[in-house]
Symmetry: C2
Subunit: 521 residues, 2 copies
């Protein structure tokens, strides 16, 4: 009976929860992800801390909310002051390897201010978010020297200075003409790379090789796929594996456009929303999006076989999730960011190898999980300290192990800062005026916006979130109550990060030891 020694933290980018078989998709055949769910616990109410890649990932990597880690959009670096999972592991002689995407940006201002050399060992570690990069690959940019993928492509005959642009996200139509996959009209055709040379195949190869190389040495790996994120180009045969009638129907109503919330209305002036509001667009993209997911699932089958062959299922914690979903035209939106469950509620499967978790295998957990729970779950599984002065999430191991838990959270919060988006300009707001917060419990979803009325959805009566009760006088009491829950939540965030709890304990009521005798008569 082995203790948990290894960690495999798998993230997909922009993967919708409702696009997996085990979460109820009627047509997508995700048998490997479903098999993981059968061996672990499927969390049915897992939410991200923000529906944007960067802030959501920084919460996954720090165990802290967006309000606390501060990296509140993709172009905002994580502060040097924040500590990531890799650094926690390093403190205990472990490393966190990376294959794929992190969205980590260097806090250049912080480096300059604190005179930290970028090329020092410290500088390099901090610049990488304390991941040990097997191959960092963030996708959707021309890869630089951070990734071996371009060289791999050239070795395999894709000769170009920009093999990603020219092959991976380029497509060839039936007439042999080449088009860019940046244009969504073109994603109906297959990528110009063969499937074994695609991003998903390549990154799975990196992960398998690393796990094999580790042998019996303990390891921790973040395998972070850039798919099914745009550009929605799939290699053959995945580009046309699914037909439109095997896709989920569009979840939107004309009534959503009447008296729409100002922020939503502003989002719908953005190009991706305008385009995804046209059925031609969503009808073109959705089947390919499903194909990209099918491809990931197929490659995860290779990974599971590797773990089986190496006998690693018995000592490996596996977490499978996504950084957020993708509207694909639902609610007259494209992309992500807004607070509908489509984007905020993500797949989350936890395989806890401990025999204590045997009773929960294959079960569904309906209590709320948040992206901030991953770091404490990993630390807990490895028997490491919890760093509770900083980490705001909680380990879900008590849930996977069926322990009696009486005080679990009854709601989750997600946040958005849209100051980098066109919506800010459309609304004429300043960069510090563009914030929203979602408080979601089992029944209600409340969204507080700086400067605008709130949104409110009754998820019991309206699970599809089509009827915004944010201005309905009959629901004032609900809104007030949910707004108060936001204050409650804020009050639990961790602000005192320069001293840990044991230090507080040891210094409580000890002023006389320090020669301070106030209050004596």
């Amino acid at each position: 009976m082995a203790a948990t020694r290894n960690v495999l933290f798998i993230m997909c980018d922009q993967l919708r929860r409702d696009h997996l078989g085990c979460y109820g998709h009627p047509y997508l055949r995700t048998r490997n992800i479903d098999a993981l769910a059968a061996r672990g616990v499927r969390f049915d109410n897992a939410f991200v801390t923000s529906g944007v890649c960067g802030p959501s990932r920084m919460s996954y990597y720090t165990g802290r909310t967006m309000s606390s880690h501060g990296a509140n959009w993709n172009r905002v670096p994580l502060s040097l002051g924040e500590i990531t999972l890799g650094e926690y592991l390093q403190r205990h002689g472990r490393t966190l390897a990376l294959a794929g995407k992190t969205h980590v940006l260097t806090d250049i201002g912080g480096f300059e201010r604190l005179e930290i050399a970028r090329n020092s060992a410290l500088g390099q570690r901090l610049s990488s978010g304390s991941f040990v990069e097997l191959d960092r690959y963030d996708g959707h940019h021309e890869p630089g020297n951070e990734s071996g993928y371009p060289a791999f492509l050239r070795q395999n005959g894709y000769v170009s200075d920009r093999p990603w642009s020219d092959f991976v996200i380029s497509v060839e139509d039936d007439a042999g003409e080449i088009h860019s996959g940046w244009k969504m009209r073109n994603v109906r055709w297959p990528s110009r790379v063969a499937e074994p040379h695609s991003e998903t195949a390549y990154m799975t190869d990196q992960a398998i090789r690393y796990i094999e190389q580790q042998g019996d040495e303990p390891w921790a790996l973040h395998l972070s796929y850039v798919k099914p994120h745009w550009p929605y180009v799939a290699p053959r045969p995945y580009h046309d594996m699914y037909a439109l009638d095997q896709c989920l129907p569009l979840a939107r109503r004309a009534s959503e456009l009447e008296n729409a919330h100002p922020v939503l209305a502003a989002y719908r002036t953005q190009e991706e929303c305008i385009n995804f509001s046209r059925e031609e667009v969503s009808n073109t993209v959705r089947p390919v999006y499903q194909g990209l997911i099918q491809q990931i699932d197929d490659h995860l089958g290779r990974l599971w076989e590797t773990l089986e062959r190496l006998d690693r299922w018995r000592d490996t914690l596996i977490i499978f999730t996504a950084d957020h979903g993708d509207f694909l035209g639902d609610h007259w939106l494209g992309e992500k960011e807004q607070f509908y469950d489509t984007v905020q509620r993500v797949p989350m499967i936890v395989h806890d190898p401990s025999p204590q978790a045997d009773a929960t295998r294959g079960t569904t957990e309906t209590r709320f999980m948040s992206g901030i729970d991953v770091v404490p779950t990993v630390l807990g599984a490895l028997g490491l300290p919890g760093y509770e002065e900083r980490i705001e999430g909680v380990s879900v191991l008590p849930l996977t192990r069926g322990e009696a838990v009486t005080d679990w959270r009854d709601c989750v919060v997600s946040e958005l800062d849209y100051s980098f988006r066109g919506a800010r300009l459309a609304l004429g707001r300043r960069p510090d005026e563009c914030r929203g917060w979602m408080v979601r419990d089992a029944r209600w979803k409340y969204v507080h916006w700086l400067g605008y009325r709130p949104q409110l959805f009754d998820l019991s009566a309206d699970p599809g979130e089509f009827v915004d009760l944010g201005a309905d006088p009959a629901h004032e009491a609900v809104r007030v109550r949910m707004h108060g829950k936001l204050a409650d939540w804020y009050g639990t965030l961790k602000r005192r990060v320069t001293i840990d709890h044991p230090s507080v304990e040891s210094k409580t009521n000890t002023h006389k030891q320090w020669g301070v005798f106030f209050g004596e008569w």
Copy 2:
């Protein structure tokens, strides 16, 4: 007509607002502070961000709330990631000199983690909170080599290894016996140092010398008195300058002890509260406390004369305030921390030398000011950038200059973390469960506590805050509304500190410039 070039930021430690003539004290003759009010604007609703020295000062020095700067009690270092006024000034070729107390602690963990050498120029600057220390002197500890005060004492004949303990806070009774001023029973007798050698005199000397030495060079100085903070020992003649019948009556009622809030009840088990609840104690301390204030006022007269002689009133911004008050037995409490106005509402006088402020001289401003407004006021007066991505306060110069201001704050928030106090042990709570927040508007004071019922005071009907309506069913709607204001306030705190507003502006909706073409059809 000179532009504002100099800054004199004067802080007293533990000075009650109601203990100044200009704030209505019937007996204390604070003619110099009153004269400053006559030359500037007296803020009648100025509040600290926490009723504890350390966190309150870190807000004064960073322009950020306690929740944002994180130094939430005296033993908690300010994070290396926080930027203080001295660092902002340094960026523009200015220095912020210090004479007196700051309560700055070194973030040792941060230094180690980021490999910053303590003895490097950067390390030394960060360790001092970016003050240029003329003489740092935090009082209430045996001074180490950070201050010239012990050497000054020895030069003046106070021969001891511990001249502060043996002379400054030691007293001599009528029989010639020596006692420690740590025991409040002894503060009826005078300090063993002559008045010119006392802390207040010495630190005023440092300030005057610095201002004189600067000549016509611009300067910025933080003159930070350690008095009238405990030990409440005053030099002759201030030790018995005031009689008990010249002190304010005790503000407390027996009814406050009935059904007291659990946190208040726990505080009242602490030694300083037990002792200050006895009239013998408050009767002994209050007259001396007044004497210590009288002494500060007298020395400020010397400082004002210096400014007059050097013709510096015309180009010097002067801010006079305190880090919090002192209960002295009011509400059956000693010391500070709790959310009564006695401690949270502080004296605040702003002398804006600009001719634009001539119309407001000698007036009283009733709009809310907060400790976080000092940094932006200083930056604004000197014409420096506002660093709005970090600084949460706002400049009060529009108020001193009588400008039309339409959207001023309608409430202030203060915070408390009592995890280092005996109250935590009395209540059996963990270090992250000991937090409270006050939201105070013109009429209501609402206090939200983690784990306990709120407090509520109707300041119109009960300006003395004797009747806690926190459990009164008739006031549920008020509490709910005030709780919501807490969420509103949280939502305005500055979390994105690694990138400034102009950078956000320049990167808004620019993804195509970066080669990212999502959402195109």
